[in-house]
Every structure is written in structure tokens, then in C-alpha cells.
């Protein structure tokens, strides 16, 4: 065991393991300023307004 894990309490260790899957989701969070990210999960035909343009989400690919 590493020095850090030795220092962690059992409770903190469990919390860290529970949080791990969520980190991958956080990594894919869309940029608040664009609609680019997350496109693979959204309807490609959805109408979006970006920088004044009326576009289809798939236009942003």
C-alpha cells in the first residue's frame, strides 16, 4: 500500500471508490459555452442556437 492509502480512513477509501465511475462522466460534461460536447448522446436533428446561428445539432460535429 502506498503512503497515502495507509493514511486514508476506511470510510474515505470507500467514498473514493464510489466516486470513481462519476469521474468518467464528469470528463464528458459539455462545455457550458458550446453545444458541441455530448453530441453523441443528443438527437442529431435537434435544433440548436449557437452564436446566433439556427443549426441542427449534427452541424456542430
Amino acid at each position: 500500500m502506498s503512503f497515502f492509502i495507509k493514511k486514508m480512513s476506511r470510510r474515505a477509501l470507500v467514498q473514493a471508490l464510489v466516486a470513481l465511475p462519476a469521474l468518467s462522466v464528469l470528463g464528458k460534461l459539455p462545455d457550458a459555452n458550446t453545444a458541441h460536447a455530448g453530441a453523441s448522446l443528443a438527437d442529431p436533428d435537434e435544433i440548436v442556437e449557437v452564436n446566433g446561428w439556427i443549426l441542427k445539432r449534427s452541424d456542430l460535429a
Binding site: 435544433i47 442556437e49 452564436n51 446566433g52 446561428w53 439556427i54 443549426l55 452541424d59 456542430l60
Partner: protein, 479 residues
């Protein structure tokens, strides 16, 4: 007959049954209809044969609220009225414009479009129009609509000879009816101003006020004030529900193929919402005018798109290389929701040379109209996407929710409402026949009787209503 002064007219001993105030499209059309029925009519025109600064000065006024044109610029005070600077766009109000809209208070007319349709053949002759073509649905939400660019008939030029030769019509120039007198049942006379001084009282059996979409309200407000309510006995709506067609450049479109839409002789196409779209989004009518953009504008538009949607920009760029005419400016004109607070008032401090209070126009665009502008452009943009025809970009001030710019078209110089038609005397001034509520011999012609504005330029509907009123008067007035 045309007289250049009231003095010359008096010397002719003409005995009219009807007195029309104003020689614009409405006044001239009604006079010609009465002439055809053999009814002698005098047309009092405040201006002369030509434009003059002195005459226009009578039209100065002020505006409170949103930015608007100077009131002596937005209309013309000489023979033929504002037809002298009319651009010539023609279209009758839509059928749906006459119907009440649950989401917009005080909409709906007491007549239907079918009531003026029988007069359209006459209107086509008067305005030198080709036949209108039916609307073409582009999607469930957007329809292609036709506005005919007419030769812009100047009424004095086109009908001057006819008026001059008529034995039933006397056009009297330089004669300003400053007020009407009334006893609450009838107009008993018109006070005249000619050659820079009071010219006495003029009498006729019937009076038809056709002085324009601002001036009709002014004249009746002043007359009513002077007659203690004797000219418009039910005056709650007098001057109110005034409307324009706000008009702004709303955005641009890049089109895959400019030839997708039928354009007119000046390379423009027009689009409006379907009734279903208006009902679903609870918006007013609007017209999007699509105008071809110069090539330099296309390149900057594609460059802008490249920052947001590179692949789409690349596709557009390839289209651009095939077709240099593939971008457009989008101008939007829309129907104003009728609001009692948008109104013509009389100035408390400023009068014209004849002592008549000038106009203080209160005018503001509403939140419903802003939504109509934004949703309208989005509907058009969505339609282009659905049909794979192109893409739309909103102007920055719209996308960012900023105020209306003050350096653009602003509005159409279309002055509507103020003496609106209706059955409820608290919310209207004239009845379905354009007769002032409670008065036996006073009628109003012109766009001041409009209950709603629709999105179409008003002259075609003004002329149709004038034909209808002329027919009505021909039956009512006994020779």
C-alpha cells in the same frame, strides 16, 4: 374639377352632397365611386399640387416611447397624399388577420376578409396590379407569400385628369379643415383654413374623414374637444390602438440554392407564418423579406459559420463556389399587438399655424412583438434546416437580447388604427360600415379604421375598404 383655392371653388357655386377630407388613396377612391353613382362630392385637400415645406410643417409633432420617424417626414401633405412616396408593395391582409386571436387582446374585426374580396378586381385596376397568387406552404410553419411590387400609383398623377374633368367632383386644394362641429348626432359643418386665415364654415350632408392614419385621429380628437363630445360621442377608443409595422434587419441566411424560392422582379421573396404556427407559439403575424446579399457579405457569413460549425461552413463554401448568389439578408416586419396605450394625443403645448394642437404620438413595441420577431426567425431557420435548404443567423442584437437599433428601417411608415372599426363602442370608433358610432353622417376612410395591422403593407387593403365604403355611401346618400 380642380380648384387651387377655396375662393375659386366658392365662385363656382358647386353644391356637394358629400364632403371628403383628404385626397389620398382612400379619399380619391371614395370620390370616384360617388362620381360613378352621380353623387356630387367635394374633396378638400389641405396641401397644393406639389410638395412644400410650408405645408409639411403642419404635420410636425412629437413622439413619446420608442424611436420613431419625425411626423412631418413619415407622411405627405399635398394632392394624392402619402401615395406620393409610396413604395408600391401590395398585398391584402390575410384572412387570419381579420379573426380574433385568443392570445392577443383586442384583435378581430367586425368584418371578414370575404367582405372586401368582391372589391379586389377594382383594386387591381386602381393600383395597376397583376392577379395575386395563392400562398405556398414551405413547411407546417412557414408559407411563401406574394407581395406584388406595383408601379406605385401616385393618385394625383393617375387620376388628376379624371378628377379635373368630372362634373360631380370638386377637388379644392390649399383648403384645410381644421375642425368639425357636431351635436352628438350629426356633423353640422367643417371649419376651414385657407390662404393663411380662417375661411368660415363648410356644410354638406355627409362628411368622410380621409386625412391619413395619424391625422384622422388628430382631427377628430380636436373636433371632439371643441364640440364637447359632439363629433365622436363614444370617444374612449379615439386615437388609441395605433399601430405600425416595425421593420428591422433580423439576420442572414445562407442558402444551398437561391433558386429554391420564387423571387420577384427585384430578387426578393417573402415568408409568413401559418395560422397553426401562430397559434402554437402565440405570436403575431410577420413577414420575412429575403433579399439577395452581395458576394462580400456571403464570405463573411461563411467565415462566421466556420467558427461554429466548420463542416457546415465547408459544405456551404463548396456551394458558394458553384453559385455566387447563395446568401440573403432577412428583414422582418411584424404585426403589432393592438394596445390602447399606443395612441395619438393632442399636444398640450404645441399648435400648428392654424391653431390646431400638434400630435403627440405614444408608441412602444410590446414583449409579444419581440417574441414574434425572435420566434419568427427561428421558425424560418428551422424550416430551412428541415427542408435542407440552408441556415439562418440572427443579428447579434437579437441573439443577445439587446434593445432595438435606432439606425435601421424602424417601421414601414404605415399608420394604422386610432379610429378602429368594431361593435363595442368602448373599444372602437367606427362600425363595420366605417360610420362613427352614434353619428348619422360622419364616416372615416383609410388605415385608421384597421383593427389589426397584419404584416402586409396597408395600401391594398385601404383601397379595398375605400371601394366598399364608396359603394355603401352610394346606397345611403340620396341624390
Amino acid at each position: 374639377m380642380i380648384f387651387d383655392s377655396y375662393e375659386a371653388y366658392r365662385a363656382a357655386s358647386f353644391a356637394p352632397k358629400v364632403c371628403i377630407l383628404g385626397s389620398g388613396p382612400a379619399g380619391t377612391t371614395i370620390a370616384r365611386k360617388l362620381d360613378a353613382a352621380g353623387i356630387p362630392v367635394v374633396v378638400l385637400e389641405a396641401g397644393s399640387r406639389d410638395f412644400s415645406d410650408e405645408s409639411q410643417d403642419f404635420y410636425r409633432g412629437s413622439t413619446v416611447g420608442d424611436f420613431y420617424f419625425d411626423l412631418d417626414i413619415t407622411r405627405l401633405r399635398f394632392m394624392g397624399g402619402s401615395s406620393n412616396h409610396w413604395a408600391g408593395w401590395c398585398r391584402v391582409l390575410d384572412k387570419q388577420d381579420f379573426e380574433p386571436k385568443a392570445w392577443a387582446p383586442d384583435t378581430g374585426w367586425p368584418i371578414r376578409r370575404a367582405d372586401i374580396e368582391p372589391y379586389l378586381p377594382e383594386v387591381h385596376d386602381i393600383l395597376d396590379l397583376a392577379d395575386f397568387r395563392p400562398d405556398v406552404p414551405i413547411s407546417d410553419d412557414i408559407r411563401w407569400v406574394q407581395l406584388i411590387k406595383s408601379p406605385a400609383v401616385r393618385f394625383a398623377e393617375k387620376f388628376g385628369d379624371e378628377l379635373d374633368k368630372s362634373r360631380n367632383i370638386a377637388v379644392v386644394l390649399n383648403t384645410y379643415a381644421t375642425e368639425l362641429a357636431g351635436d352628438g348626432k350629426r356633423v353640422t359643418g367643417a371649419r376651414l383654413w385657407s390662404n393663411g386665415r380662417d375661411a368660415g364654415t363648410f356644410n354638406a350632408d355627409y362628411f368622410i374623414v380621409c386625412t391619413g392614419g395619424l391625422e384622422n385621429s388628430r382631427l377628430l380628437l380636436w373636433s371632439n374637444q371643441r364640440s364637447n363630445g359632439g363629433v365622436v360621442p363614444n370617444a374612449a377608443a379615439l386615437g388609441r390602438y395605433w399601430m405600425e409595422h416595425p421593420t428591422f434587419e433580423g439576420g442572414n441566411a445562407i442558402l444551398a440554392n437561391y433558386g429554391e424560392f420564387e423571387v420577384d422582379d427585384v430578387k426578393e421573396a417573402f415568408f409568413s407564418p401559418t395560422l397553426a404556427a401562430m397559434e402554437r407559439l402565440k405570436i403575431m403575424n410577420f413577414g420575412i423579406r429575403l433579399i439577395e446579399t452581395p458576394y462580400a457579405g456571403v464570405k463573411s457569413l461563411v467565415a462566421d459559420l466556420a467558427c461554429t460549425a466548420p463542416d457546415m461552413a465547408e459544405w456551404m463554401s463548396s456551394k458558394l463556389s458553384q453559385n455566387l448568389r447563395c446568401a440573403a439578408q432577412l428583414y422582418v416586419a411584424w404585426e403589432q399587438a393592438p394596445l390602447a396605450s399606443n395612441q395619438v394625443e393632442l399636444s398640450k403645448t404645441d399648435v400648428d399655424h392654424a391653431g390646431v394642437p400638434r400630435i403627440e404620438l405614444h408608441w412602444k413595441k410590446s414583449e409579444l412583438e419581440r417574441r414574434t420577431l425572435v420566434e419568427g426567425l427561428k421558425l424560418f431557420g428551422t424550416t430551412l434546416i428541415e427542408k435542407d435548404l440552408g441556415r439562418v443567423r440572427l443579428m447579434d442584437w437579437i441573439a443577445n437580447g439587446e434593445d432595438y437599433p435606432t439606425n435601421e428601417e424602424t417601421a414601414g411608415h404605415h399608420h394604422m388604427g386610432g379610429t378602429r372599426m368594431g361593435t363595442d363602442v368602448a373599444r372602437s370608433v367606427v362600425d363595420a360600415n366605417c360610420k362613427v358610432h352614434g353619428m348619422d353622417n360622419l364616416y372615416v376612410g383609410g388605415s385608421s379604421v384597421f383593427c389589426t395591422s397584419g404584416q402586409a403593407n396597408p395600401t391594398t387593403t385601404i383601397t379595398a375598404l375605400a371601394c366598399r365604403l364608396g359603394d355603401h355611401l352610394s346606397k345611403v346618400v340620396s341624390v
